[in-house]
Amino acid sequence: MSEQTNIWPLWEVFVRSSRGLSHVHAGSLHAPDAAMALRNARDLYTRRNEGVSIWVVPSDAISSSDPDSKGAYFESPQGKDYRHATYYTKSEGVKHL
């Protein structure tokens, strides 16, 4: 068996479960092109009415935050509780606020 490995590229699949909701990552698959990736995604990820719309994106077209930076990249919002409504307690009991 001298078959070349990975002859089909990898695609990431995003599915919109119903109108009004965002597309959410469902998984990945291999396909030779976008049209086949969409067909395969339909057969693989929406066999039970899980979706009304599908996006497929070549995996190598996605950039992600550096996993090595761990928490550091997301540090800035920490310690800034005042960005949340729950920070403001003096108004407790006041209606419609």
Binding site: T5, W8, M36, L44, I62, S63, P67
Partner: protein, 338 residues
């Protein structure tokens, strides 16, 4: 802050326990240990010990192979299913098994081993799959016993895996478990209809249960004292319960369900032990289990031959699709340039 491609597959990292770790690896190990201690999830691009990665690639790919090989005993019955409805149901189930295999190959690929490599390992006989699929499906009632007992045992095993510490594996298992419950119910229904049918149909159902009972119990793997890897898998939060614990739990469930079927389980020792709160079942033939795993079950050769044949027969499809995609891409470039 460097942006990283999703596809830059992380290389196996030198996390050898026996040697002194580099500073980066020591930090990685500490981070990994903290995530496991918090019962949180490890994601593909996180640092992980070499042995953890290796264990997962082996387990998830074996699981994927089992789904793919598991299509065969049932696919053999599609043309002989007794009604159009049963054919449609069986086709949906076999399609699900293919889907489950693909979810699992995707999960395993995030660990840095390509699907093609895993497929090669299966085709060359280097990879294992569940021993249960090396037993023949002789009668229509076997479709019932496979759904009820084999898929039932798979569910009992897989529900705790939804909480496996490796994120992609757990997510694949959530999807699979949702779909498996239809499999078990349809099998139960086949047996229920047969057990309420003619005496011959009832006998056929009982015979199928008799043949699949012990092999289904063996699906949980060897007894705890003979399962050296289980302890480490549990420490890593991949496995949540031991083989024996899951097995006795499953026996308890089917011991009740079999009454609804009006059939019996072929187990003279079966009883609930009030003292320990566990189900006791007969001793299983572990020599048979080992022989089947080693390739000497009734159908090993047939299953592998069929899998190789399907792969070879599909080669021209894979090549044609690739050639078409390249042609379309070239056409697109030409139009774009004009």
């Amino acid at each position: 802050m460097a942006a990283a491609s999703l596809q830059s597959v992380p290389q196996p990292q030198p996390g050898r326990d026996t040697e002194v770790l580099s500073e980066a690896d020591a930090a990685g190990q500490a981070y990994f240990d903290r995530i496991i201690a918090e019962d949180s999830r490890i994601e593909p691009r996180d640092w992980m010990p070499v042995a953890y990665r290796k264990t997962l690639v082996r387990q998830v790919s074996q699981h994927a192979h089992s789904e793919i090989i598991g299509m065969q005993p049932e696919a053999n019955w599609i043309t002989r299913a007794p009604s159009l409805k049963r054919k449609a149901i069986l086709m949906a189930k076999v399609q699900d098994e293919a889907g489950h295999g693909l979810y699992l190959y995707s999960a395993a690929e995030t660990l840095g081993t390509s699907r093609d490599t895993m497929t090669q390992q299966l085709l060359e006989g280097k990879a294992k799959y569940s021993s249960i699929f090396n037993y023949p499906a002789r009668t229509w009632a076997d479709m019932g016993a496979i759904g009820w007992l084999v898929d039932g045992a798979a569910i009992a095993n897989q529900v705790p895996l939804c909480r496996a510490s490796f994120g992609p594996y757990g997510r694949a298992m959530v999807r699979i478990c949702k779909e498996e419950s239809f499999h078990q119910r349809q099998g139960f229904e086949i047996l229920l209809e047969l057990s309420h049918g003619t005496p011959a149909q009832r006998q056929m159902a009982q015979d199928a249960v008799d043949r699949f009972y012990a092999p289904a119990l063996m699906m949980f793997g060897p007894p705890d004292e003979d399962s050296p890897n289980s302890k480490q898998s549990m420490a890593w939060n991949i496995k949540r319960f031991s083989n024996d614990e899951l097995r006795q739990r499953f026996v308890g469930m089917i011991a009740e369900q079999v009454k609804v079927l009006g059939l019996t389980l072929p187990d003279p020792d079966l009883r609930y032990d009030e003292e320990t709160g566990t189900w006791i079942h007969m001793d299983l033939n572990w020599d048979e289990f080992k022989a089947v795993i080693a390739g000497n079950g009734p159908c090993n050769a047939q299953r592998m031959a069929r899998r190789r044949e399907a792969h070879e027969n599909g080669a021209w499809v894979r090549e044609a699709a690739k050639a078409y995609a390249e042609k379309q891409a070239a056409k697109h470039v030409t139009i774009g340039a004009a």
